[in-house]
Symmetry: C2
Subunit: 420 residues, 2 copies
C-alpha cells in the first residue's frame, strides 16, 4: 500500500495558521454562511500518482480512519483489518467478527469470511434481504439477537459487505450494540464507495421518513475492493457515477476536467480510472466531513448539490422508478439552470455538466411520463431537510468547483425552471 | 451562579505538561493497567466554598457541558437551557422541546414545561410508565412517533425529567432520532444526580441483557434541582447515598471524611450538605469520564467498585428485592473484605465503610434469606462486563480514596469472603 498525492490532508495547508487543534475554521460561520471559502479545497500540489493501491485518510481526531482502495484486496481482509482492531483494542487484537451482507453479494461476504477464518478469527455471516425495506427496526433487532447469540463483546468487529442499505443497517446495529461496536465497511457499489463509506452516517427508516433513526458512527476503516464493481449492474454503476460528477462540480474543477477527458475509461470501468475517481471522491467528501462531522456548520450541505430537486423527483416517483443517482443527475441540471436564471453562472457551465452526464449515459431531464404538477414538486422540496421554516434553499454553483447555499429563491422562478 | 472550588477542572493541574490537546494521559495504559495514578484526582486547593448554586464543568472537547446544582432552579429552566440551545445552534436558538418524564414526577415535568412555555417555547410532555420495563424498544419507537408528530427538527431539545430509567430511555431516543437531538437531563433522584447524569451513557435493555442497546450521547447540560429530592422515597434516597460513599472510597479520602462528619445533615437531607455531596460526586465522576469517555482505557472501571458483587446480588435477587444502591453498599463491604484478605488494606478501612454505610441506614450484608450457593454467586460474577474470558476481576481499595483493578483473584478466596 502506498500513499499518493490524493491521501494527504489537503486542508491543513491553507488554514494551518488560523486553526486551533481540533477547531473547525468554519465553526463560526453558519449563521450567515453563503458559500464555502474560495480556497476550499486547497489545490493538490504535484500530479496524481497512480499506483495499485490508494489510501485516503479521514482526519477526525480519535475517530480518524483510513479508506483503502485497491483491486482484489478483499481476499486479504484479515491482514488489513487486524492492525485496525489492535489500535481499537489499544494493543489487544480483535478476533471475532460479524459480517453483515445480503444475498446479492453473499459471494463477497464469503470471501471476507474465509480470509478472517484462515487467520484464526471466529466469524459469522449474517445475511439480510437486499433492498431498502431492510432498513427497519425489526431487522436491527434480529441483528442484535444474532450478536447476543454469538456472545459479541466490545471488541467484536461488525463488517458490512454490501451497498448503502447494508452499510446503513449494519452500521446502525454496530453504533447501538453495547454502546458502539467497532465497524468496518466493505462497500460493493460505486455509490457506497464514494458516498456512504465516508462520513459515518448510519441509520434506518421511520415509516414516515427516510433515515430518520440513526447515528454518526465512524468506521474503524473502509476497504474498497474495486473488483466488486465488475459485477455491479450497469444502471447502478452509472447512478454511482452521478455522485462522482457531483464532487467535481461542487469542489474540484480539475477533477471535473479529468472526468471529461476519461469518459471512455469510466464507461469501460477501467480499474485505474475507477481507483482515481473513487479516491478523489472520497478525499473531497472527507475534506468536507472533517470540517463539519456532525452537519452543524452548514458546510456538509454542499454535498447535497442536485439533491433538493433530486430527492423530490425520487420521492414523487415512489423510490424505485428513479435510482438515487439518476435523481441527482437530473437534479444537478435543474439546479444549474436555476443558478443560470439567477445570473450566477453562464450557460456553458450547465452545458458541460449535461454533456458529461450524457456521455456517461445518465439522464439529464425527467422522462416524459413523470410530469407532476409544479406545485407538487415544490411542495415536496419544502420538506427537504435543508429547508427552514418552509423556505426553499438550494446549493447552487457559482463556477466549476464551487457552490453556495442560497436562501429565499423565488418559487415562481423554480416553477419556470421545472417547466422549461 | 457562582463557580466554586469544586467546579475547576482539577485534573489539568497535575498533568498539563504531559498532555497533548485532546489526548488522554491514560490512553497508553490499559494493557497492564493496575490502578489509577497515585495523584488522581489531584487534591483541591483551598476549602470548598458553599454557595446557593454550584456548577460542575465536564470537559469533553466539543461535547463539554455544565451540571448546574441548585435548590429550586427547575421553575426557571428556560433561562438555564436557552444559552445552551443557542450554543448548540451556533447562534440560532432552540424554541421547541420534548419533555420526557413518568407519572411519578409528572409534577416536575409540568414545572419545566411551564417555564419553557412562558418563555415562548413550543413544548410537549411525553409521559412514560415508571420502572425498568420502560427501557425497551417499543417505548423508544413510541417516542419517535411523538417526535415525528410534533415535527421535531435538529434543534428540538429532548429534556428528561426523571430518574435513571427516564434519562436512559429519553437519552437513547435523543441519540438516535435524526442522528442525534440535543439532550438535557433534569434528574429527579439522588442516584441519577450523581451517576447517570454524568458520562453520557444512554440505552435500553435487550431481553437477555441490561443496557445492551445504547450509545454515548453527552447532554447539552444537566439541571439538578435538589428540591426534587424532598419527595424522594427514603429507601431510594439512601440507595443514592451508597454511590456517594463509593466516590469517597475510590477517589477522595477527604470527601469520605467529610461524609463521616456530616451524617446528621445527610440523613436530614440538608440542602447545603446535599448540594456539596452531589457536586463533589459529579466532579469526581467527571474527572474519570474526561479521561475515559468511551470506557476504553479501563479507568472508567474504577466507578464499578462494589459492583461486581453488587450486580451479582441484584441479578440473583431478580432486580427489585435489592435496589441498585443497596447491592452496591453490600458489594463494597464484600470487596473491601476481599482486599483485606489479599493484604491490600487493614481492617480499619473496611470498618470505616461499614460504619458510614450503617449510619446512613444502608445494608452492609445480605439479608439472611438471600443465601444463594457460593458457586451460583461466582457464576454470576463471571458474566460481569469487566470479566475477561471468564476470569474474575475486581476493583479493590489500597487505601481510602484509591482503588486498583485486580485480575486473577483466587475463586476459593472469593468463596470464603462470601461465606464469612
Amino acid at each position: 500500500m502506498k500513499s499518493t498525492g490524493v491521501s494527504s490532508n489537503l486542508l491543513t495547508h491553507g488554514c494551518q495558521s488560523r486553526l486551533q487543534p481540533g477547531q473547525s475554521f468554519l465553526r463560526s460561520l453558519p449563521r450567515d454562511w453563503q458559500g464555502i471559502p474560495r480556497d476550499f479545497p486547497p489545490q493538490q500540489t504535484g500530479s496524481t500518482v497512480q499506483s495499485s493501491s490508494q489510501n485516503v485518510s479521514v482526519a477526525l481526531g480519535d475517530r480518524s480512519y483510513d479508506i483503502l482502495i485497491e483491486s482484489g484486496c478483499l481476499p486479504r481482509l484479515a491482514t488489513i483489518v487486524e492492525p485496525w482492531g489492535v489500535r481499537f483494542g489499544q494493543g489487544k487484537p480483535s478476533r471475532k467478527a460479524a459480517i453483515i451482507s445480503d444475498s446479492n453479494v453473499r459471494y463477497a461476504a464469503d470471501i471476507a469470511a474465509r480470509s478472517l477464518r484462515e487467520a484464526g478469527w471466529a466469524c459469522e455471516v449474517i445475511e439480510l434481504e437486499p433492498g431498502e425495506p431492510t432498513k427497519r427496526q425489526e431487522v436491527i433487532s434480529s441483528i442484535y439477537d444474532r450478536l447476543v447469540a454469538m456472545q459479541a463483546d466490545r471488541r467484536t468487529i461488525v463488517i458490512a459487505v454490501g451497498g448503502g442499505v447494508i452499510g446503513d443497517a449494519a452500521g446502525f446495529a454496530a453504533a447501538t450494540y453495547n454502546r458502539g461496536l467497532p465497524f468496518v465497511q466493505c462497500p460493493s457499489t460505486l455509490l457506497a464507495d464514494v458516498d456512504s463509506s465516508v462520513g459515518g452516517k448510519v441509520g434506518i427508516n421511520h415509516p414516515q421518513a427516510k433515515n430518520l433513526i440513526g447515528a454518526f458512527h465512524q468506521p474503524l476503516g473502509v476497504v474498497i475492493d474495486t473488483d466488486l464493481l465488475k459485477t455491479l449492474p450497469d444502471r447502478e454503476y452509472r447512478a454511482g457515477l452521478a455522485e462522482v460528477v457531483k464532487y467535481g462540480v461542487i469542489l474540484d474543477a480539475e477533477f471535473f476536467t479529468w472526468m471529461e477527458s476519461h469518459i471512455a475509461e469510466l464507461n469501460a470501468r477501467d480499474p485505474q480510472a475507477l481507483q482515481h475517481a473513487i479516491a478523489r471522491s472520497c478525499r473531497l467528501k472527507a475534506d468536507v466531513v472533517e470540517h463539519d462531522e456532525y452537519e452543524r456548520t452548514g458546510l456538509r450541505a454542499v454535498l447535497n448539490y442536485g439533491h433538493t430537486f433530486g430527492h423530490a423527483f425520487e420521492a414523487l416517483s415512489g423510490y424505485g422508478e428513479l435510482l438515487h443517482g439518476e435523481g441527482v443527475a437530473i437534479g444537478m441540471v435543474y439546479a444549474s439552470r436555476l443558478a443560470e436564471a439567477l445570473g450566477r453562472i453562464d450557460a456553458s457551465m450547465t452545458r458541460r455538466q449535461v454533456e458529461l452526464l450524457q456521455a456517461l449515459h445518465l439522464p439529464t431531464r425527467l422522462p416524459a411520463h413523470l410530469n407532476w404538477p409544479t406545485t407538487e414538486v415544490i411542495g415536496r422540496m419544502r420538506l427537504d431537510k435543508k429547508s427552514e421554516a418552509g423556505k426553499l434553499r438550494f446549493v447552487l454553483p457559482t463556477r466549476m468547483g464551487h457552490v453556495e447555499l442560497v436562501d429565499g429563491v423565488d418559487e415562481a422562478l423554480v416553477a419556470r425552471i421545472l417547466n422549461s
